[in-house]
Each structure stands twice: as structure tokens, then as C-alpha cells.
């Protein structure tokens, strides 16, 4: 358990990166790295109207907390960590996920931020449904194999890799 601030949340409310940043950064930090995943208007050539997310909430929250721990083990210089994900309907342009990492210097903050969003997308028990402008809807599946090869690798020693080990 880190004595630095940790925010791990699933919420139906709009996400604000500045609010998350203020909750995890302290005066000990010289760097704050952030990532926001936004609901965009096109995916795979189709016009999107809005997104809906659902989660296995207790499992996803445990996984997100475990990712924050894993990230601090890998980059002990990391201070505050924030992970927030939306549930329910998300309109175009809104953030569906926020990651924020604070540290004394930028290198671990940036690396940890990339690690967290990649690992969250790969394993957290969260599902997205896209509703199309032309009508209809589809559930998506994140393709772990499509991740860029130079991403920080995080072996998940699990019998079923897409679940973050607990």
C-alpha cells in the first residue's frame, strides 16, 4: 500500500482530467502525466452516435487497484496514481477513461501512464458497446495483439491472461 494518493474509480459522472490531477499530485511532484481516452465519432469506418460501458464492478476495481500497485513496483519513483473509467452512456467527445501519474521527474510518470492505459485496456473487466448513427449497435473487443510492439510489456502470470492477476 502506497502512502501516495491513489484514485481508482468507476463512475457514471463526467470525467475531468484537471480534477483527477488535483487529487493525485502533491508538492513532492515535478511531473504529472495524463491520458484521456475519448469517445470519437468514427470507428472502423462507421459513424458512432454514442458509447455505453458496463463493468463487473468489484472485479474491475480490484484489477485497477492491482494495476496501480504493479505500476509502483515497476517504477518505485511513481507517487500518485489515478485511474477512472466511465460506466453507462458516454457522449462523443467525452472521456471514457482517465489515467494520471505523478512523480518527481517525467520519465517514470510518462512510462507508468502508458503502462496503465495499455494494461487497463487489455485486462480490466469492462465492456463497451458502440451505438451507430445509422442505427444498430455492436459490442467491441480490445485486440491485445494489435497493441504496438514497443509498448511496455507487462507479463500477466494468469491462467487466463486478459484478467489482471489479483
Amino acid at each position: 500500500m502506497s502512502h501516495w494518493p491513489t484514485v481508482v474509480e468507476l463512475t457514471r459522472a463526467r470525467l475531468e482530467s484537471s480534477i483527477l490531477a488535483a487529487r493525485i499530485a502533491t508538492r513532492a511532484d515535478g511531473a504529472l502525466a495524463g491520458f484521456a481516452g475519448l469517445a470519437r465519432e468514427r470507428n472502423q469506418g462507421r459513424a458512432v452516435r454514442y458509447l455505453e460501458y458496463e463493468a463487473y464492478e468489484p472485479l474491475a476495481l480490484r484489477q485497477m487497484a492491482s494495476l496501480a500497485d504493479a505500476c509502483r513496483r515497476r517504477w518505485p519513483e511513481v507517487h500518485g496514481v489515478g485511474l477512472q473509467h466511465r460506466l453507462g452512456r458516454v457522449e462523443l467527445g467525452e472521456a471514457s477513461v482517465l489515467v494520471a501519474v505523478a512523480a518527481e521527474h517525467r520519465a517514470p510518470a510518462l512510462a507508468a501512464c502508458a503502462f496503465l492505459i495499455d494494461a487497463l485496456k487489455r485486462g480490466a473487466a469492462i465492456w463497451k458497446k458502440e451505438f451507430f448513427a445509422a442505427g444498430g449497435a455492436d459490442w467491441l473487443a480490445n485486440d491485445a495483439a494489435a497493441e504496438p510492439p514497443d509498448r511496455p510489456s507487462m507479463p500477466l502470470p494468469s491462467a487466463r491472461p486478459p484478467i489482471v492477476p489479483l
Binding site: R40, Y53, R62, S96, A125, W127, K128, A159, P162, I163
Partner: protein, 82 residues
């Protein structure tokens, strides 16, 4: 024994339900639970090979043993993030 089976995302939609308390013989494993679900809801067969499994919020496999009141999650491929 009775176990609490939870369905998510496209699997919940395909089966038309999110949860079910299932009666299983003692000594049953997760595979038996999946077999029984598949018997009740044949639409599950299209998903079975792609499911990830959890037992009481821990990763599990088909040969994991079951106990009374276990919570079993049937998790289709995830798609969090934007």
C-alpha cells in the same frame, strides 16, 4: 450446492440475463457449471471458447473446484478504454 453465475456485455445480451443462481451437485467444477449453463442457454456455446472465468473475483479455469455460494463470472473479451 448453489453458485451465483454472472454474465456480462455481449454474453448477457445473447442470453437475455445478467445473473442466475445455479444448483449443481457437490464436487462440481466450473466446467460443470458452464455445461449446465450451456444446456439451459444454448447461445452460450458460441462464446464458451472465448470466455475468461472468475471465481470470487479471482482468475479461474474450467477445472477450478466450486463451493457453496461461489460467485462465478463469465467474462467475454474485454473492451474498456476509448
Amino acid at each position: 450446492m448453489r453458485v451465483h453465475v454472472l454474465f456480462f456485455g455481449p454474453v448477457a445480451e445473447a442470453l437475455g440475463l445478467r445473473e442466475h443462481w445455479l444448483e449443481l451437485p457437490s464436487g462440481a467444477r466450473i466446467a460443470d457449471c458452464l455445461d449446465e449453463c450451456q444446456r439451459r442457454w444454448p447461445a452460450l456455446s458460441a462464446w464458451r471458447s472465448r470466455l475468461h472465468l472468475s471465481r470470487n473475483l479471482e482468475s479461474a479455469a474450467e477445472d477450478s473446484p466450486l463451493a457453496e455460494a461461489d460467485e462465478i463470472g463469465l467474462l467475454p473479451p474485454v473492451s474498456g478504454g476509448a
